[in-house]
């Protein structure tokens, strides 16, 4: 079963004392794709990634990574994977080049090809003019590019990236994702965790995690299609009052404020969402304009974390 999949997991569970950090997670991640873990802090993203690279022993369940059983054969996969930690984990008191040389040696790259590879990486990640600079003095974006260069020095088949863009500006994020697609095109499987919707949207496949459970998974577009809710976008002058009134209505799942606009998620069972809203606001003498719209990933996320999401038909 591992032929087409880089990662499969069944019932993967991890407890810390009485806290269940990861709760029976099933995964099937195809090779040469970018797969995202979307979820708030504490939803079990990092713990799942750490179990998959063999850093944490699962309390229950099993996984297969690149054809090796986890946790039993954890050492065997170390050569084939790269793991970029949430926190910058290279040596701040070494220079850019020294860090890359260290990683190349740790992965036992022969001298000649190591030098060549490091040159390539310095060019590719725009670090050539910084190679003698200490890593600790780099900017957030540069550190992140160096970290990616360091974990790909041995050209791994599988990359784990734990919230790689949480400390960088939007431009760096876009560039970073360009690099990820480039790696993916060359056959690398990438598992990336994030709490940014726009990043999640770029993934080929996605699992939404909430309190340790996978509450939805599939391709982003598919997830948006399968959402078990309707979405109404409203414009109003008194969004705070409208929001308060709508939240109390039966069938309304959530109301999110976006500047002057409100995004209202309603249960599918509500036959005419617009009518429900109008009725709910009657007699308040409020100016508003409401229309049905397509759900986006954030809606999926909100719905899924409230259990309002249709699982794919098996």
């Amino acid at each position: 079963m591992s032929g087409d999949y880089a990662i499969t997991a069944r019932g993967l569970t991890r407890r810390f004392g009485t806290v269940i950090a990861v709760d029976h997670v099933d995964l099937a991640i195809s090779r040469a794709t970018i797969y995202g873990f979307l979820g708030p802090n504490g939803s079990g993203k990092s713990t799942t990634i750490r179990m998959l690279c063999g850093l944490l022993t699962p309390s229950e369940g099993e996984a297969e990574v690149l054809g090796h059983r986890i946790p039993g054969e954890a050492e065997a996969i170390k050569r084939k994977i790269g793991y970029m930690t949430q926190r910058f984990s290279l040596y701040e008191d070494l220079t850019v080049r020294e860090n890359l040389e260290f990683m190349a040696d740790v992965y036992s790259l022969p001298r000649r090809s190591a030098r060549q590879r490091i040159g390539q990486l310095l060019d590719k990640y725009n670090l050539a003019d910084r190679e003698r600079q200490r890593a600790g003095t780099l900017s957030g974006g540069q550190k992140q590019r160096l970290a990616l260069a360091a974990v790909t020095v041995h050209e791994p088949e599988l990359l784990f990236l734990d919230e790689p863009t949480s400390a960088v500006d939007p431009q760096s994020r876009r560039d970073f994702w360009e690099s990820l697609f480039e790696l993916c095109d060359k056959g690398t499987t990438i598992l990336v965790s994030t709490h940014y919707m726009d990043e999640a949207e770029r993934c080929h496949g996605l699992a939404i995690l909430d309190r340790g459970r996978v509450v939805a998974d599939g391709a982003p577009q598919e997830l948006e299609r399968r959402i078990d809710a309707s979405v109404v976008e409203m414009e109003t002058g008194d969004s705070r009052t409208v929001r308060r009134l709508l939240t109390d209505l039966p069938g309304v799942l959530s109301v999110t404020q976006l500047g002057m606009r409100l995004r209202v998620l309603l249960d599918r069972s509500v036959a005419d969402p617009l009518a429900l809203i109008r009725t709910g606001l009657i007699g308040q003498r409020l100016q508003f304009d409401a229309r049905l719209t397509h759900p986006n990933l954030e809606d999926v996320f909100v719905a899924a974390t409230q259990g309002r999401y249709l699982k794919a038909q098996a």
Binding site: R50, C53, G54, L55, L56, T57, A74, E75, K78, R79, I81, Y83, T85, R87, F88, S89, L90, Y91, E92, M103, V106, Y107, S108, A150, V151
Partner: protein, 366 residues
């Protein structure tokens, strides 16, 4: 008023943090408890029971009384009986005895004539405390001899002060100090080594690479071995130039002993590194190891003066063995081959601590 409130805010926060740092909390109680009980008993400048050897050429009733009286004085414990004064010198050099009692064949006549000392005390004078203790024997009188002694009388023993005829304490202190300095720096270097990587987040990256435990441990130790050897050279140089400490033994022996001792301390540091969660804890634990090393290793107070229990504990500390090695080689000109048991002890300590460090260090986060 507001100032007081802020002060209390800080105070309360501090207490809360302290309570959660179990190791530090343990140290608050552990350091006084252990150190006071251990050293209160162990530190004893009134040295008794120095191990002694006897070479009795007279072999008469009186010579046996002399030996028995020396034993009864509790200043010495006669542990060895040999044939010749040369054998006593060998035992002294090997550090197996601190005092040699040589009773010549004309002991009886000497006693009767009283124009010169009747017997000879051969003392390892490298430690002035041992020298002072052993000298108490010179005031001894034989049991048969009940007549009051005249002050001008010739003493019973002639004293031969070996290894430190000028009775300078630097001679004794400097070699031991080498061990103390190495213990402090070497243990601390590696104690913080892994903790620092953990604190800075490097470790999470590192354990996800193919690096093996042994590679990580040995790779961390080797640079410090070289630093340790540089320190040894510096201490030797200063000892000779500033304090004119003699180097009786061979240089190669000094460096070999230092090498094994350095390695033993570094592996001890690694064990601490796997126990401590923060660099601060690592430093505390190092100190916890360092203090007994200084006090009961024989560096500061003679080993023979300590109670049995303290001696057993001291045998577990690398510094105890190194102090014996380095004093033997530097001051008494002993060869390494004469002190092999100390070398084995250091090597055993190193292998055990390295094993413990490797077992405790998992390439895991749980």
């Amino acid at each position: 008023m507001k100032g007081l409130l802020r002060l209390f805010a800080i105070l309360r926060k501090e207490v809360r943090q302290l309570r959660r740092d179990r190791l530090t909390f343990g140290m608050i109680v552990g350091i006084p408890l252990l150190q006071i009980t251990l050293f209160g008993f162990a530190i004893n400048t009134d040295v008794r029971h120095l191990s002694a050897g006897v070479a009795d050429h007279a072999n008469t009733q009186f010579s046996r009384i002399l030996a028995a009286d020396a034993q009864a004085s509790q200043v010495v414990d006669i542990t060895r009986r040999v044939e010749t004064p040369e054998q006593l010198e060998t035992l002294l050099r090997r550090g197996e005895i601190s005092v040699g009692i040589f009773i010549p064949s004309d002991f009886g006549q000497r006693l009767a004539r009283r124009d010169r000392p009747a017997a000879q005390l051969m003392i390892d004078g490298s430690d002035p405390l041992i020298l002072a203790a052993a000298r108490q024997l010179t005031g001894m009188s034989l049991r048969y001899d009940t007549a009051p002694r005249q002050t001008t009388e010739v003493p019973l023993f002639e004293i031969r002060n070996y290894y430190n005829p000028e009775r300078r304490s630097a001679v004794n202190i400097v070699p031991g100090l080498m061990g103390v300095i190495l213990t402090m720096t070497m243990v601390l270097f590696t104690a913080v080594a892994i903790v620092r990587e953990r604190e800075r987040g490097n470790l999470e990256l590192l354990i996800n690479t193919p690096v093996r435990n042994l590679e990580l441990m040995v790779g961390k130790i080797i640079p410090y071995v070289i630093i340790g050897l540089i320190q040894v050279s510096l201490i030797l140089l200063l000892g000779v130039l500033l304090f004119h400490v003699p180097i009786q033994g061979r240089m190669i022996d000094i460096y070999l002993a230092a090498l094994v001792f350095i390695a033993a301390n570094l592996t001890m540091g690694l064990v601490i590194s796997t126990l401590a969660r923060t660099q601060f804890q690592a430093m505390q634990t190092t100190f916890f190891f360092f203090l007994p090393s200084i006090l009961i290793s024989g560096f500061m107070f003679p080993f023979d003066g300590m109670p049995r229990a303290a001696q057993y504990i001291a045998e577990l500390l690398p510094l105890t063995h190194f102090v014996r090695l380095i004093r033997g080689i530097m001051l008494r000109g002993a060869e390494l081959s004469e002190l092999l048991s100390e070398m084995w002890a250091l090597m055993a300590f190193m292998l055990i601590t390295l094993g413990v460090a490797m077992l405790r260090f998992k390439k895991r986060l749980d």
